[in-house]
């Protein structure tokens, strides 16, 4: 595995080994000395051509805990906001000797363009591209689900996950559909028909327009963010109606099955797709997702750059 561009790059074995590596790394993170020397002397560039705080910080923390040198290259104030091409940026990073580039970009496929080009040689890690994929988010979600509901199993076999909201524009949904399927879970997408892509029929999922009927039947309710900029675009009449049909509120919380959990990739629109009391409820693992994000991203960097998974007991 040279790059991580899409969940479809992963075999089941590779995905599980990333999750297992993340578990080992999480144990180390709990100890007093959080830092590992694994990537000492390696340079990782965070190329964030689109605003993002949590993913960038999460990758930065992950790289630093593995002792890598981290360079942050963000949209605002950099040459990216001055119209520099992706090619020139890549050539610059190559000249700086980047061993890996973590890229967030508003254009779907930009990470693949970097990886397929001869502009740079380092590993490319997709940290979210347009409306395409966000593989590290899917991996941290799977890690979180496995931890809560895995019952010691290495995969997610037999679990049912509902992904609710703007699937059409969601890179989180695309990566999660692929990874959950790979790990043996079944997925139901719940959204207004306007926010499901044409072609979704070919995905390995079931579709529902009725959140109330789905909620009692699933182990995980994963809410998606409703982007502010979509609201004027005829996808639904108004935010009140959206919340009524597709928002997770305390009524719906009550009908959730025992042991089921609530997830959200953040940032949340409290009061729109999720109410504050649900977000802060006992079933919510949203804050934990953030913490797990660092361990999973450490594991991704570890596997890609150190060239091997971290075996249990091999420290």
């Amino acid at each position: 595995m040279r790059h991580l561009l899409s969940v479809s790059d992963l075999t089941k074995t590779q995905a599980i080994s990333i999750l297992d590596t993340a578990s080992e790394l999480a144990r180390i993170s709990d100890s007093t000395i959080k830092k590992l020397p694994t990537l000492r002397g390696r340079t990782i560039v965070n190329l964030f051509a689109e605003d993002s705080t949590r993913t960038r910080i999460s990758f930065e923390a992950a790289a630093k805990r593995l002792s890598a040198d981290v360079i942050n290259f963000s949209a605002k104030g950099s040459s990216l906001s001055k119209g520099e091409s992706l090619k020139d940026t890549a050539l610059t990073l190559q000249a700086m000797g980047a061993d890996a580039v973590v890229i967030r970009h508003s254009a779907s496929g930009a990470p693949q363009r970097l990886a397929d080009s001869e502009w740079m040689r380092g590993a490319v890690i997709n940290a979210g591209d347009g409306t395409h994929e966000h593989p590290s988010q899917a991996l941290l979600d799977a890690f979180t689900i496995r931890k809560h509901l895995g019952k010691g199993s290495s995969d997610l076999h037999g679990l049912r996950v509902a992904i609710v909201g703007d699937v059409l524009h969601s890179r989180v949904a695309r990566s999660n559909v692929l990874l959950l399927k790979l790990l043996g879970a079944s997925v139901v997408l719940v959204a207004p028909p306007t926010l499901l892509p044409v072609g979704v029929e070919s995905w390995p999922v079931t579709i529902s327009y009725d959140l109330d009927s789905v909620i009692p039947t699933v182990d995980v309710v994963m809410m998606l963010r409703v982007q502010q900029e979509r609201m004027g675009d005829l996808y639904f009449p108004n935010t009140r109606e959206y919340s009524r049909y597709f928002g997770l509120n305390s009524e719906r919380l009550k009908s959730m099955s025992a042991n089921s959990i609530i997830m959200h990739p953040g940032p949340m629109n409290r009061g729109l797709e999720i109410t504050a009391e649900v977000a802060d409820s006992a079933r919510s693992v949203i804050v934990e997702q953030v913490a797990n994000g660092v361990s999973v991203r450490m594991a991704i960097l570890y596997v890609l750059l150190a060239g091997q998974p971290l075996e249990a007991g091999n420290k």
């Binding site: 091409s85 992706l86 090619k87 970009h105 254009a107 779907s108 496929g109 930009a110 693949q112 363009r113 397929d116 591209d129 347009g130 409306t131 395409h132 994929e133 890179r171 695309r174 892509p197 044409v198 072609g199 979704v200 029929e201 070919s202 995905w203």
Partner: protein, 437 residues
């Protein structure tokens, strides 16, 4: 002293399959018969090759004036001659737009100066391609360019009233409106065919219905006002069905398909390489098969290249930032052989019709598409159908390199092109205008 230009093509295979020699004298086809001997003629042994009437492209972007870095009338003419074309139709979306007599006359003159093909300018339907008010259609028709084909290609003539008026107005001189069928509201920000692949790639979909809705509207409009409509680059099985229905009703509509839509599908977008980004987009395998069938049965009348040169930087970027368009002139005949002839869907006589006679008829290009008739202007293309070649973007005659077929091995090598009786291509090499005489 009288110098005559005499060329003798020996052992050619005519489109209908007969073997014959073809004698060209002073620009005209002098005779076509089995055994011609002429001591004064320059002889080309073309045994094993097919002789076709010179290819006519009804849809070419030559980029001049405005984007001479991507193509000029001269480089486009060279690209055309290399691909076997003797006539090109220069689309109006230049900068400035060809919406007045001045620009179309300039393009026409540049074509004459290049002297490798006839360059017939297409006039814009509306001022600035904005779709709001009619351009100076009459002045362009009466100019030395004698424009008969009008198109806002790149943009759709979206407003139904503007389309109606344009269709009516051109009846004055038997013109034709070539419509770029793309409903703009259904394609805001669209990047690729809407379907299974776009759903996975997260690229904004371009629904087939955006094309089909305009085709349906316009065949009804042209029927109502009894004018002449041509549909540019049809890409969908549904569009084919509507045109088939319209023709069965006797509606005066013609249609074109591009070589790339006869071969490539939206699966290629999985690479995110914008070399495959084109307007209208590559569609599904099912659409490709429907287009081939429609070209074979005549529902689609012609192949037109939509040759769209672009600079390197406008393709060497993210998909959504990249320009739409592909080169087409130098690969067109090979792609048609591969998709239509070698598959048994079309004979060489069919190719002569779809790439020469029919487009010449639609455009009103009198000296073209004459199917090797004795006494007609000697516009001729010779292709060796048994040879193959590998497309190399670094070896194209176009100023741009954006061919989607780089590295493809294709059947059919265009070896010779004659324009008005003079060779523009000999053994695959371009002849400069002066050296040819």
């Amino acid at each position: 002293m009288t110098i005559t230009n005499r060329y003798l093509l020996k052992a050619a295979m005519l489109p209908q399959g007969d073997r014959a020699d073809v004698l060209i004298v002073d620009g005209f086809i002098n005779s076509v018969s089995p055994n011609i001997f002429d001591n004064e003629a320059t002889v080309f042994d073309v045994s094993g090759s097919v002789v076709l009437p010179g290819l006519v492209d009804l849809h070419t972007h030559l980029r001049q004036p405005g984007r001479e870095d991507a193509e000029t009338v001269l480089s486009g003419s060279q690209s055309g001659a290399k691909g076997g074309f003797t006539a090109l139709s220069a689309m109006a979306n230049t900068s400035p737009v060809a919406d007045n007599a001045g620009v179309v006359e300039q393009v026409f003159r540049l074509g004459q100066e290049a002297g490798l093909v006839d360059v017939f300018p297409i006039g814009a339907v509306t001022q600035g391609l904005k779709g709001e008010s009619l351009s100076e259609i009459g002045a362009m028709a009466d100019s030395i360019a004698g424009v008969r084909v009008f198109s806002d290609d790149g943009n759709c003539v979206f407003d139904p009233l503007v389309m109606r008026r344009a269709l009516e107005y051109i009846k004055k001189f038997n013109g034709v409106i070539a419509q770029h069928a793309q409903e703009p509201r259904l394609t805001v920000g669209s990047q690729m065919n809407e379907g299974n692949v776009s759903a996975i790639l997260g690229l904004k979909g371009w629904p087939a219905v955006a094309e089909e809705a305009i085709i349906a509207r316009d065949v009804l409009l042209v029927d109502h006002v009894k004018s002449r409509l041509h549909i540019c680059h049809v890409t969908t099985a549904g569009g084919v069905e509507i045109i088939r229905w319209a023709k069965a009703r006797g509606i005066n509509v013609t249609a074109e398909v591009t070589p790339h839509h006869l071969l490539l599908t939206d699966e290629l977008a999985r690479s995110y390489d914008p070399i495959f980004k084109v307007n209208p987009p590559l569609r599904s395998e099912r659409d490709v098969m429907a287009l081939r069938e429609a070209l074979a049965d005549g529902t689609i009348d012609i192949v037109a290249t939509d040759h769209a040169p672009h600079s390197v930087e406008s393709k060497e970027c993210e998909w959504q930032e990249a320009s739409f368009g592909m080169l087409g002139l130098e690969t067109a005949l090979s792609i048609v052989q591969k998709t239509m002839v070698d598959t048994g869907l079309l004979t060489w006589a069919g190719v002569a019709d779809r790439l020469s006679s029919a487009p010449a008829r639609i455009g009103g290009y009198e000296n073209h598409g004459n199917n090797l008739t004795i006494g007609s202007k000697a516009n001729i293309t010779i292709i060796n159908p048994d040879a193959t070649w590998i497309v190399d973007r670094d070896l194209v005659a176009s100023k741009s390199r954006n061919t989607p077929f780089h590295g493809y091995e294709l059947p059919g090598v265009v070896t010779h092109t004659f324009f008005n009786g003079l060779p523009t291509l000999i053994d695959g090499l371009l002849v400069s205008k002066k050296a040819g005489s």
